[in-house]
Symmetry: C2
Subunit: 337 residues, 2 copies
Amino acid sequence: MNDGTPTPWHLTPPTFQEIEEAARRIRGVLVETPLLESECLNARLGGRLLVKAEGLQRTGSFKARGAWNRLSLLSSEERSHGVVAFSSGNHAQAVAWAGQRLGIGTVVIAMPSDAPAAKIERTRGWGAEVVLYDRATEDREALGRRLAAERGLILVPPYDDRRVIAGAATLGLEVTQQAKAMGAVPDALVVCCAGGGLTAGCALALETLTPTTRVFAAEPEGFDDTARSLAAGMRLGNAPGATSICDAVQAPMPGILTFSINAPRLGGGLVVSDTEALQAMRVAFEEFRLVVEPGAAVAFAAALCGRLPVANRIVAVVLTGANVDPGMYQRALSTIT
Amino acid sequence: MNDGTPTPWHLTPPTFQEIEEAARRIRGVLVETPLLESECLNARLGGRLLVKAEGLQRTGSFKARGAWNRLSLLSSEERSHGVVAFSSGNHAQAVAWAGQRLGIGTVVIAMPSDAPAAKIERTRGWGAEVVLYDRATEDREALGRRLAAERGLILVPPYDDRRVIAGAATLGLEVTQQAKAMGAVPDALVVCCAGGGLTAGCALALETLTPTTRVFAAEPEGFDDTARSLAAGMRLGNAPGATSICDAVQAPMPGILTFSINAPRLGGGLVVSDTEALQAMRVAFEEFRLVVEPGAAVAFAAALCGRLPVANRIVAVVLTGANVDPGMYQRALSTIT
């Protein structure tokens, strides 16, 4: 970005108007997921905790927002060419679903060969062509670009795209409106963060709507690249070899566009352990009767564990997705809290 | 009713206007729970299945609607006296919660001594005084009336009250509006049925809003009193000694008011087994990532098992609650579908 060449348009932040347009675009197609609170939990925390139940979204995660907005904006000629995306999980399903709903004939998704069989099956179920690659030896971004070039497909990035971010930002818009209807202006919003697209979208939406709300990124231990990058003021990657059950929030490093949005706007990064994520999944079941996947529980966990104080404040957290297999979910329900 | 004495006002059906007033009363306090659908499931069933995720309601069930509406309608003098209700589960929690939210000083709930500890604890957590009784030797209705008389409390019945039914009916209002926003007018609505209050409320609401929608009651085997009563044209009780894991839908027989509303309006009763309810809980997890309790899964189960055909039609089902303990939920997730 600093070599004198202009930043490509898609790598510049969306305007607030684009976010509002995205909100109109998703209406009636996507779910306005509820914003919930529990008096019992509020009493325990000494404040108000609002949770956005985004696991109830189409395809089970917030990714449907960005995918729908991006694919809706394709011209009819682009639609006739088709799209390609790479993802091991939630973005894959979202793009496949949106492609089918919009009648896009060719949707190609590059998925690692060791992705859960159910996720591959579900992506195929939405009519997508799944190209499997070896996670150990192949670069998924390069593969995505190659498929796009060879077959004339439009590449749909998981986060570094202003239209994808504008779609994700509609979640921030909804949280603000729903909180207002509950008589609340959050002091803080905590978002589960991988590449940073949802976090960036929310930061942009709230900057206009409720500038007093501080936005925080939550990550699992070992994949706290955004927390460290925010502290350092530059994009840092994760050390190789880390593992976590939080599969949905494991990006190699913050995105280019997302970090440029997040760096000057976020209140910081919050980091939780896998055990804390599992405990948060159990509390979500007990207090809200909500299914949450491990990676989507890290923002809630950060609030429960006091990484971000709730006492005497209003804190909103996003439960970003719910694509968890029964075995892992049973493990969470057996966790002692 | 046929002995010449006039029917008490509270045992006559609410008007549509009262249902609309109840809807205004709950706004901003209760959750507008989402109406969801799954393309995968629709493809499998060959039609459109819309599910109302009412387990996300305050206190985890639709009972919060009736409790809130009834308690909101108390005069300030009545509020100063306090209220009493009897229930082993969802109605207990709903009345305790609504009483606390409305600042009603005395809320007494008669609960069986063998009710789940967590439900008793939660009811107490909302500030209610819990009076335990022996399910084997005491009559809960008589106990409720006695507590009301002795302590000057207002009795809040679980279903046979026009204000409770008007509150429950707001769910029917919401389903209709949400379906319309999704471009759908349901051919049928299936409601989990115990005393019949929610079923009656929905039947009244839909009669005005979408008279082409047929309403059905779903029940578990052994507690199919409404199905048999509808077929016989008179209120029939369940045979003693039946057991079911569907604890939330076990009324001894249809209510007086609810049956008078349901008998001329319903399309019939649908009956499912405990195993079918468990399978439906697992499908709700897989397709919608929703927690459902066994008794709240019977309407969904009826549609999944073909008790009510979905092919080439639009069928809406209500998942009425989600107050299930982790052990039972893990059992459902281990069920083969």
